[in-house]
């Protein structure tokens, strides 16, 4: 027994990904559905668990490829079209670009439309689809339309109407994005989805702070014809309420070229501003 366990561990070292990769040799949901002899609910649960494990493992390893995530989620939802959490997971992790997701917004939209078709009274799905249009594709017209469709579902959360209006105006981008991610955090029980929302909210705060500081810096430069010597000087000159700090409490810094930077960019993987030139983000999740 001991010898067989040790041999198997050696085999696992040689082909560590084999189990998860092999699964897609059966890529047709119809075949899996038939083979399950009507117990397709159980098969859907198995495929869902594998989808989560697949993403979790690849994400943890910093993989840049999540090619099997879409087929696994499609298989799951075709076996059980009412498994809402699988659609929500797809909306969160199919559309974003690697390393944060599979970078397949088209597949994410396809999945969500399939979900809405099979669960027309589930307002969360309209919200998730609108979210993809708004944050990933920046297609505000479609986002507004989807939020509006969702707001007509009986029992839908009132914030869908607000999102529809804000997406239509495409006004207050930071504010809308913050509301969207907060709603995602509050409306999901999935740990990974909630952590993802927390990371985005942290990054949004950085983006907003850096934008505001950069504007203050521009105003200072126009007025004085020079760069401030420090962030403290900028804060005092522009009447900012104290020295601005990032969500971890670290003060922002300024480089020689007048760029506002965060102290630890690795802690804000989704931030698009305040990063050193040439910086490549590394996915890292924090405790909620």
């Amino acid at each position: 027994m001991v010898a067989s366990v040790q041999t198997l561990r050696r085999v696992d070292e040689i082909r560590p990904q084999a189990t998860l990769d092999d699964i897609l040799y059966i890529s047709s949901p119809k075949i899996v559905k038939r083979a399950s002899l009507g117990y397709d609910g159980l098969m859907a649960c198995i495929y869902w668990t594998r989808a989560v494990q697949y993403f979790g493992e690849h994400h943890h390893n910093g993989s840049l490829s999540f090619n099997q995530l879409a087929p696994l989620l499609e298989m799951t939802t075709q076996l059980d079209p009412h498994l809402i959490v699988a659609y929500q997971f797809g909306a969160s992790f199919l559309a974003p670009k690697p390393p944060f997701g599979a970078g397949q917004p088209d597949r994410a939209i396809q999945l969500m439309e399939y979900g809405i078709q099979n669960n027309p009274t589930e307002w969360h799905l309209y919200y998730d689809l609108g979210f993809i249009y708004y944050t990933e594709l920046k297609d505000y017209a479609k986002a507004a339309d989807t939020f509006e469709r969702g707001s007509r579902v009986p029992g839908a959360h009132p914030f869908l109407k607000i999102f529809a209006a804000q997406a239509a105006q495409h006004a207050g981008e930071f504010q809308t994005a913050r509301m969207l991610w907060t709603a995602t955090y509050q409306s999901s029980q999935d740990k990974q989805i909630r952590q993802n929302a927390v990371e985005h909210l942290r990054a949004l705060k950085v983006d907003e702070d850096v934008t505001n500081l950069q504007s203050a810096l521009t105003r200072f430069g126009e007025r004085t014809g020079r760069l401030p010597n420090s962030i403290s000087e900028l804060a005092a000159a522009e009447g900012l309420p104290g020295i601005p700090v990032d969500p971890d409490g670290n003060a922002y810094t300024m480089d020689r070229d007048g760029r506002i930077l965060v102290e630890s960019p690795d802690d804000f993987a989704f931030a698009t501003k305040g990063l050193p030139p040439g910086y490549k983000p590394i996915p890292k999740f924090h405790d909620q």
Binding site: G41, W48, D190
Partner: protein, 258 residues
């Protein structure tokens, strides 16, 4: 007449309960329901769904295996041990023997299902910490599973009334698999033309439609099956099991036991 059938049924039940294979299968089914707890914990957000799906699937599949493997041996074992001659030498008619055996096996399966259901509810309570009103729908799924067993028991007896245990097992299990595809068979009949259409339609209605009894995923999502479905499935199971049992009785009545 009724007393004789009850007597044979109770003996069949006792014999089945004493059967070691039966105990192993129950233990395995309970173990599987227990493993639902483990699977539930690694499944994100769908622990309840996994426990219900896995638990009820285990109840259904192990019940089918028990029904087939005990059902096919009910007649042949009696012939092999020559106890059948002792029974039939008394004022017991052959049809009473078959019907008694059937009720004995059906009773065994109902008791098994009851114990396995306790395992499922225990696992559910462990994972969800409380039972909700929608969990009552699980009883409907369990009832449909029992109806499925009634048909399989009758089929196993039908096959065992004229063929060897091995062949009976193959026939019964094949019909279970084909019966799970009954609705696809009907879809195929709808697409065919001419004699093929009639043949496929006939085959689709001849094989038992087990897919109609599978509401496991429906109840796992908390959706109640309609009252009409419960009524029609009950009638269908009674008619189909009655038909298969009548076939078993007719064949066994004409069988030369010398």
């Amino acid at each position: 007449m009724t007393a004789r059938i009850v007597h044979i049924a109770s003996n069949t039940f006792r014999e089945a309960v004493r059967d070691r294979v039966l105990y192993n299968l129950i233990a395995f089914a309970v173990l599987l329901s227990g493993s639902a707890i483990l699977v539930g914990q690694i499944s994100i957000d769908i622990e309840r769904l996994v426990v219900i799906n896995l638990g009820l699937t285990a109840v259904s599949l192990f019940g089918v295996v028990i029904a087939i493997f005990i059902g096919i041996g009910l007649v042949s074992k009696e012939i092999e041990k020559r106890t059948l001659y002792t029974v039939l030498s008394r004022p017991v008619r052959r049809w009473e023997f078959i019907v008694g055996k059937y009720f004995g096996l059906a009773g065994t399966l109902v008791v098994n299902t009851f114990f396995m259901a306790i395992g499922v509810f225990g696992a559910l309570l462990y994972v969800a910490h409380k039972l909700t009103s929608s969990d009552a729908m699980i009883f409907v799924a369990l009832y449909f599973i029992v109806l499925e067993f009634l048909i399989i028991c009758a089929l196993a007896l039908l096959f065992s009334s004229f063929s060897s245990p091995l062949l009976s097992a193959v026939f019964a299990f094949s019909l279970f698999v084909i019966g799970s595809f009954a609705e696809d068979l009907r879809g195929f009949a709808g697409m065919a033309h001419g004699p093929t259409r009639w043949l496929a339609t006939g085959a689709a209605y001849a094989v038992p439609n087990f897919s109609a009894f599978n509401v496991i995923n429906l109840v796992a999502h908390g959706h109640p099956p309609s009252g009409q479905l419960i009524l029609q499935n009950t009638l269908y199971a009674l008619f189909y099991a009655g038909m298969a049992l009548s076939g078993a009785v007719l064949i066994f009545d004409r069988r030369n036991l010398k």
